[in-house]
Amino acid sequence: MTGEVRAGTDAAVIDASLRDPERFAELYDRHHATIHRYIARRLGRDQADDLMAETFLIAFAQRERYDLTCAGARPWLYGIATNLIGQHHRAENRFWRLIARTGADPAVESPSERVAERVSAQGMRRELAAALARLPRGQRDVLLLTAAGGLSADEIASALGIAKGTVHSRLNRARRKTRDALGGIDPRDVGEGVHA
């Protein structure tokens, strides 16, 4: 099996970590920032610190089950992070409702650290947060994974353990529901990777 794993890929790192567990830290170095951003976007920055670490601990514990024919591990890590976020769905709903109510965004700002600017038009952010709070979890997962960027529909399907057709139908429904919050534009330009 080992011979089939291309050198330098995430799969090669995971394969190596089966014999030398410390090698798994390379996977952390490659992907922790992406995973942190994804979790911070859905639960706020403080939660993200802890759940980023937990995502990699779970991945490490499950590394023997990793399919080494998948060269890139990002969908797998996103899937683990999404499961963790799912366990915190009440906190996530509270998070989106807080943004909808005040425009203050705990993903950008943090209680322990003052961020100097609130960059975007807060009105639009509030509308979008209100719409996201109302989305069913499955649709929200697909929409937010798509917007996170860098994942194809196949990869989102494998991250969530659902069929590719389900990814498309959930995404279309989620887009219809958030269309007004995004400015009435048909947000077809969101994550074009999914149509590839």
């Binding site: 970590s17 567990p21 410390e22 798994f24 952390y28 922790h32 942190h36 951003r37 911070a40 976007r41 639960l43 706020g44 403080d46 939660q47 993200a48 610190d49 802890d50 980023m52 670490a53 990699f56 601990l57 779970i58 490490f60 366990q87 915190h88 509270r94 109510r101 005040t102 203050a104 705990p106 993903a107 950008v108 943090s110 209680p111 322990s112 650290e113 003052r114 100097a116 600017e117 609130r118 960059v119 975007s120 038009a121 009105g123 639009m124 952010r125 979008l128 917007a147 996170a148 429904r173 219809r176 529901k177 269309r179 007004d180 919050a181 995004l182 400015g183 009435g184 534009i185 330009d189």
Partner: protein, 340 residues
């Protein structure tokens, strides 16, 4: 870039200590020296942020805003018997009877506000907001609120928005954005809306309640309409006739009640309409009790509420204020950044 993508792009990278801690936990697991899922550090129950910018001088705010109101108050005054005279001849002087009466007075007051920006001019709105700091998991009537000031210049042709943000979470720099296409954030789009309240409801239904966002029942519809109209008022950019139509449309929404003797964030008296949502929150629209001009939006807890989530318990106590947001009367200026 659309708002969803911008929402991600703005998230700052993790702090260095968080990155190191995550790596340390992973290596500890790899060495077999710690359980794979280490116990999480206890979270502070009451978030007490260490932010540089704290409570701005609310007193100064009161003075600024009171100055704007003085003229209107002088117009009203009292008659020979000491009874209050109507501020504007068209608004009845007697006590406000109910929510619909208040909203009709607010609509009439809005219609009498002169406002005719040229397309190349800018509409200036100053908004002041107070809310519990991010990370606050227990709110009570005594919870300290952080201040946030946003000054917005809306180009009257709807093509640009300029703003500065100050206080907690703001740096005071002027930023110009092109085209925010949300209908609520766009002067020409708001000016084109129907001014008949029934037609306005129908417009919102056909443009907002679409693609699965259709309200499932009468309560959801009422709550959604109230939220949509509150947002129009909160942004402050609506032309007078649209603002008036919005008040009249709110008057038709079931569950909207009158609240007298409310105090706004500057401590001045206000009168409000209120609608309870999610079973424990009242969303209020505050207007000036004399001029009936829009003052503020307030979200207040009307019933103790506890939410148990995995990251801990959050508690909202009756009387706690979750958001207070007021804006100045919009003024027309020639350039972004210019104050009237």
């Amino acid at each position: 870039m659309n708002e969803l993508e911008r929402m991600y792009a703005e998230v700052p990278p993790p702090a260095e200590n968080a990155v190191l801690e995550g790596r340390r936990r992973l290596l500890a697991a790899a060495h077999g020296t710690s359980p794979v899922t280490a116990p999480r550090p206890a979270r502070r129950l009451l978030g007490l942020p260490r932010m540089g910018v704290r409570l701005a001088a609310v007193g100064a705010l009161a003075v600024t805003i009171a100055a704007g109101v003085t003229i209107a108050q002088n117009v009203g005054g009292t008659d020979k018997e000491g009874r209050p005279r109507p501020v504007l001849p068209v608004i009845p002087a007697g006590p406000v009877a109910n929510a619909a009466d208040l909203l009709n007075r607010a609509a009439t007051a809005a219609e009498s506000r002169p406002f005719a920006p040229r397309p190349d001019q800018w509409i200036y709105v100053e908004s002041r907001q107070r809310f519990p700091a991010i990370g606050t998991h227990v709110t009570t009537p005594k919870t300290r609120l952080v201040n946030f000031v946003e000054r917005t210049w809306w180009r009257a042709d709807g093509k640009q928005i300029a703003r500065t943000q100050q206080g907690a979470y703001g740096d005071g720099k002027l930023r110009i954005e092109t085209g925010n296409q949300l209908w609520k954030h766009n002067y020409p789009a708001l000016a084109a809306l129907p001014t008949d309240p029934t037609a306005l409801d129908a417009w919102v239904a056909s443009h907002v309640f679409i693609g699965g966002m259709r309200p499932k029942n009468a309560e959801e519809r009422a709550a959604a309409l109230y939220d949509q109209y509150s947002a129009v008022l909160r942004n402050g950019v609506a032309p007078p006739k649209t603002e008036a139509a919005v008040y009249r449309a709110i008057a038709r929404i079931p569950g909207v009640t009158l609240r007298k003797n409310v105090v706004d964030m500057a401590g001045r008296p206000a009168i409000a309409v209120s609608r309870v949502t999610e079973g424990y929150l009242a969303k209020e629209i505050l207007v000036d009790p004399k001029t009936y001009a829009y003052l503020a939006e307030r979200v207040i807890v009307v019933k103790d509420h506890t939410l148990n989530a995995l990251d801990g318990r959050s508690v909202d106590k009756k009387g706690a204020v979750l958001n207070l947001e007021m804006h100045s009367i919009p003024k027309v200026v020639d350039r972004p950044g210019q104050r009237p």
